[in-house]
Symmetry: C2
């Protein structure tokens, strides 16, 4: 279909703001009388708090208030399982947990005051390895696990906060049908999301007790809910404003500093601003879940997959955060393949480490790394081309997903074939030290409650009122582009604002790949509502039927008779009708799933399924183990492209981040202590590390997305590690099963292979 | 009808903010890199600008930019007649007109820079008296009057920017029927609105050119329109935010500093804040129009009014501002009385003074002072009680208003009788030096485009999103109270925000007594929209019909079966429907009028007519002329009371302000120069000057207002001056016809009476 705006490579609506440095972030906001807050982190991984004495801190000149467990009203927070006290209460469960916070007139004074807080701890035995934590004799981290509120059904016991099951088919039959069985154990580390703006919050309390918080959160409305819970006040007494966000990638979904800053503001009667240092970012926020994946696959000689058994253990850290949902991605161990007999068990297990959480496509890159490594190993054993093995087993329309959802409108084949074609996979030359690897992955497009409004201005321009947080992905550009298309107005005629729970309609967080697919649909609906009101008003004036009218270039005109036209501006305030404003609200019902497939999984069905396939080409230095990624072809189905610049940027950015997961990134722990807690020691890929990433866009339209659009941003991360691991294996015959694939590991494997006489 | 919230004396929603000083006003807002702007005012009343040299000002360290006529793109602004350049262009028309503006890093530097701007003027003959200005030989103030855009039809010639006519009946017949004819000439001065916050604006321009202005204006959307015109940019490039306003009373309707601050911000690339000093407030903003009223009334011996001829001349000052509409209140010279033969001419005339504008009930107190003085004079001559004379002539249902509108649902009689009854008018004793006076007045309830939204929060609390500016009258309290009534929620569960053109639906200015009557109706409609959505959602859950449900205490329940109930909070995000948001938009069509009655009048029909009658009791000291107001009874029809505290406050505040108009307030001019330009020299009544004002509320419900409410705030000002003048006349036999009635005037009249041998 021919669109005016949709599908065009138009500049971002925030381009000038960002390029000139005038975009406002939370850290740019200063208010009169503002204090500076600092938080004291636990130095121990597991300990009773016997006593806290804040009196010396309070006596330090400039200190205005200190809060501890006694100020938190016993509230526990958590997006799924409410297990985390606002400040450690009674005991600490990880090194880095909040123990107290101070507000002072100056950040240095606040910092100094932290040293004056005396905490007596009684250390307790700690456990850091989730497998150890699962043992009956392990120290129990949450003694009252079953008392915590949770909004879906899941098994909980010992240190296991969630145990999910995906069991279907008959394993005995599966193994019996298998000609070959492959077994492997994979491990993936904790990795940071890599946003460039640390968590920052500024909270102010008015005399009625109403809290206003400016904060770095990707979901203003979720943050409002958490603040309402944390402070035990109704939502009408909480206002959350989210200016531009300096990246999120999953890491800015949960309350971080908002409750502390608000409690300090309430205590001191003055606004309080807090931010985490990078050292604290590593110590106490929510990196990607480390995982252990044990799997066994049964396959026939002709390449037909018949059985899969697996155990996925996610390290949840000290609190659940989003783990109970992320562990559901254990299902992704089955990949995009039809397997009749499956028995997967996923565990989200508490340990005495920082609590892990969402990171771009949470849960999926871990298990896809495992399965897609296996696929290439099996193809090699069977003497099949890996593309063919994948094509042979890929889901087809009508198949049932691992979580029991009937699949339709799939684009797996297109993604596989496109990646093979663009990379010239079938003609790949065999060269010493050069390897090719492929992998594919699946993601979906997020849904959930969404609403938006669109106001017409008296001069025919418009204001889009959306609560969608612009976290850097280009959401606002996409949304304005959609409104522009529907209204036939140039994008420059549509202004928009940032998310403010007192001003913008409810919108879910900018996560789960939901903004284009869901917020975009709502904006489209709101714009259509405005459009139909404009046509109705014009119909009166033009003495025509609304159906015979069209909206072009700021005018409503009679189709076929462009001279019969009326300016939009003359319709906005038409007498007797009032100012023109449109709104839309939606929350799509999810497709039914077969409940016999799963147990304990929070989300079993999805809309807007989408697929990506990537081909990596690497060069490995046998002397040093050094790995150079020469090329990464990233084919991906995104449905209707709204803005190709945005789509390509998301694919390149996601794949670059996946490259870090594959090769360099890992938060290292010594017990519960992070040992590389700086951006110097924690190595994200830089410009010199990232190869040319070649996006190749597939547009299989989706019935549920706006104009047929699907999600983009999370999926490109998913297949990278497996594609690179497969390419390294192709290059030098080394199969590394624990990420990141460092030169040391490759070298060690090469050496031990040589020693074994290969 | 029994209401839960409406009609209750509940505390203001902004009470704590204001009592604790934490309410944010424009002057409280500071942004990083902010510059301070100052404006240079013309020292002459009428002059060509031969040359402006800003080079010395620009060289002053700290000065960042200067703007003059060359930076204004030739734009002329004006709410009705676009006659006023943003900065004086080519010539100055009054002493105080903007000639240049400077932005500097410090207000003192900006002030100093003003002195360095060299302006060469060529002085022109000026005219200060409107009667002089109407003469053919008068200097012409606007040479190109007919070229100015105006959005309604009016005669314009010479220095007359508007000439309105109200002619009906047959004057010859009228004078023939009259037994007695009374003639008088009245004069009223320029008075300041008396807000306590001077005009302040802060403007910022982003790299795309979008302007954000925080400003002291009572209509954010009107200010947006003016800024869009002034800066020649679309409305989507303008955002106007209006925090709390420190009073308005009509004086904050037109662009004051916003265009200057914006142009300076654009010039310097930095935010610019400006505020007027009180001296400047008197020199260049829009006080109430001075008026000259010549009138002749014909009456029969039985007290029947039969003829009225009059000429009302309003001094417009150098620009039209709202004068072309205000002069339409010439119609109010007829008062609330049926007069078959009328010939009124109203003139709005340019002079070389600051341009005059809206002030509480613009136009009406001037002419009502005249007519209601006449009524009591006539009653005395006829030997009738003034109440009886008024009752005899008062309009009845079905009568035609002076502007040709058929009247219905009148409450004139109730107001007259109530004032008489409460004051014990009929039993008033006759005492030396003590006098009683009565007057009555009419006002209407403002209409125009209005929209609002109301969002439900997930916990069942709500956010009202209104663009109605809280200028101090209690608008937000009224609006929240209305929403609270409809939704059955406590007021504390409904938060609201301040007007922001990028966030709030379009709302007209907080003027023309429109906020309760019009914004209130819209909020009621939006709340009803939310209510019906809640009932529909509940109907599904309760398996009942929506019509059988009611909303009580945060629950929807089946009428008669309160145990069948569902919490509102469970309906807000109900799956499949999306977040609950309601909105409403309206602009009522006005009743038709007989066009033969009037010519050149901008507004000839009104909704929500309302009436007030006041009785004043004064004591006059024959030795000093000193006047002490002992008592003021203010009976007023307000329709359904929303909040009695608010209604009483408005009546008392309005009457207190009217007291200043009657007795103390007057901006004095020496030619074009204001000679009492400070709050020390310009005397508003203070606490010691204001007597006990006794409101007496009449509730005649109105079909068009929310719950039957009408307007309150402007009308109480209207009758005060006449009531007091009549009381003084009753006390000492002195009829003062020019306001304010100072002791000097009374004494002079007493002395000249004595000299004449009385």
């Amino acid at each position: 279909m021919a669109y005016q705006t949709v599908g065009k490579a138009l500049p971002r609506v925030d381009a000038l703001d960002k390029a000139t440095g005038s975009a406002i972030y939370t850290g740019d906001i200063h208010v009169p009388r503002m204090l500076h807050g600092k938080v004291l982190l636990s130095p121990l991984s597991h300990a009773h708090i016997a006593h806290i004495d804040v009196s010396r801190a309070l006596r330090l000149p400039g200190v205005r208030g200190v809060i501890t467990e006694h100020d938190t009203l016993g509230v526990r927070l958590g997006p799924l399982l409410r297990d985390q006290p606002v400040i450690a209460t009674g005991k600490v469960r990880f090194r880095g947990e909040y123990v107290a916070a101070v507000a002072a007139t100056d950040p240095d004074i606040a910092e100094e005051a932290l040293d004056l807080i005396q905490v007596e701890y009684e250390e307790m035995p700690a456990v850091f390895d989730p497998l150890e934590a699962m043992k009956p004799e392990a120290p129990i981290i949450h003694e009252d696990l079953l008392s915590y509120a949770i909004n879906f059904k899941t098994a909980r016991y010992g240190n296991v906060c969630t145990h999910v099951k995906i069991h279907h088919g008959d394993m005995a039959q599966g193994w019996a049908e298998a000609d070959l069985v492959f077994e492997e154990r994979f491990q993936t580390p904790a990795v940071h999301q890599g946003y460039i703006e640390p968590h920052t919050s500024l909270a102010s309390v008015d005399p009625s007790g109403k809290v206003t918080a400016w904060t770095t959160v990707k979901g203003a409305f979720r943050a409002r809910q958490e603040l309402s819970q944390a402070l035990k006040i109704p939502m009408s007494q909480v206002r959350v404003i989210t200016p531009y966000l300096g990246g999120d990638f999953g890491g800015k979904g949960s309350a971080a500093l908002e409750p502390l800053a608000s409690l300090l503001a309430r205590r001191t009667g003055r606004p309080v601003r807090m931010e985490l240092s990078w050292r604290q970012e590593f110590a106490c926020v929510h990196p990607r879940h480390p995982s252990l994946i044990e799997m066994k696959v049964g396959i026939k000689r002709d390449g037909t997959l018949v059985a899969l058994e697996g155990r996925v253990v996610l390290d949840s850290g000290a609190y659940a955060d989003t783990g109970p949902r992320v562990v559901g991605k254990t299902a992704a161990l089955q990949g995009v393949y039809r397997i009749p007999h499956v028995r997967l068990d996923g565990y989200c297990v508490y340990t005495n480490k920082t609590s892990f959480g969402n990171c771009r496509a949470p849960g999926s890159p871990q298990v896809v790394f495992a399965m897609e490594s296996m696929m290439e190993t099996m193809a090699n054993s069977l003497g099949m081309d890996p593309v063919d093995l994948r094509l042979k087993n890929a889901f087809v329309d009508g198949d049932i997903s691992p979580t029991g959802q009937k699949l339709h409108n799939l684009s797996i084949r297109q993604a596989l074939e496109r990646a093979a074609e663009v990379s010239r996979w079938r003609e790949r030359p065999k060269k010493e030290g050069i390897g090719w690897g492929m992998a594919c992955g699946e993601w979906h497009s997020g849904t959930g409650p969404s609403s938006a409004a669109l106001k017409m201005n008296e001069d025919g321009t418009a204001v889009l009122i959306t609560g969608a947080v612009e976290h850097g992905s280009g959401t606002h550009t996409t949304l304005v582009q959609i409104a522009s298309e529907v209204l036939g107005l140039p994008m420059s005629s549509i202004s928009r604002n940032y998310s403010d729970t007192d001003a913008t309609p409810y919108e879910g967080p900018s996560g789960a790949s939901r903004q284009t697919f869901t917020a975009g649909l709502t904006v489209k609906m709101a714009a259509e509502n405005v459009r139909s009101q404009l046509l109705e008003r014009a119909a009166d004036q033009l003495e025509a039927k609304a159906d015979d009218l069209e909206l072009v270039n700021g005018q409503v005109r009679v189709k076929g008779s462009p001279e019969k036209a009326v300016a939009i501006s003359s319709l906005v305030m038409s007498k007797g009708k009032g100012p023109l404003i449109g709104s839309a609200s939606q929350d799509r019902l999810m497709p039914a799933t077969d409940p016999s497939y799963t147990e304990g999984i929070a989300g079993t069905s999805f809309l807007g399924h989408t697929y990506a396939s990537q081909v990596a080409q690497v060069e490995v230095d046998r002397e040093t183990g050094d790995i150079r990624v020469l090329r990464l072809v990233a084919a991906q189905d995104v449905g209707q492209v709204i803005n190709p610049l945005g789509v390509e940027g998301q694919i390149q950015g996601g794949a670059a981040s996946g490259l870090g997961f594959a090769l360099t990134e890992r938060i290292t722990f010594d017990g519960g202590r992070v040992t590389n807690d700086s951006l110097m020691d924690y190595r994200m890929p830089t410009a010199v590390d990232v190869p040319n990433i070649e996006p190749s866009i597939i547009e299989e339209l989706d019935d549920d997305g706006p104009f047929g659009a699907k999600s983009v941003g999370e999926l490109p991360y998913v297949p990278v590690a497996a594609a690179i691991a497969n390419a390294i294996w192709d290059a030098v015959g080394v199969r590394v099963t624990d990420l990141p694939i460092t030169p040391e590991k490759v070298l060690r494997a090469l050496k031990s292979g040589e020693a074994a006489g290969q």
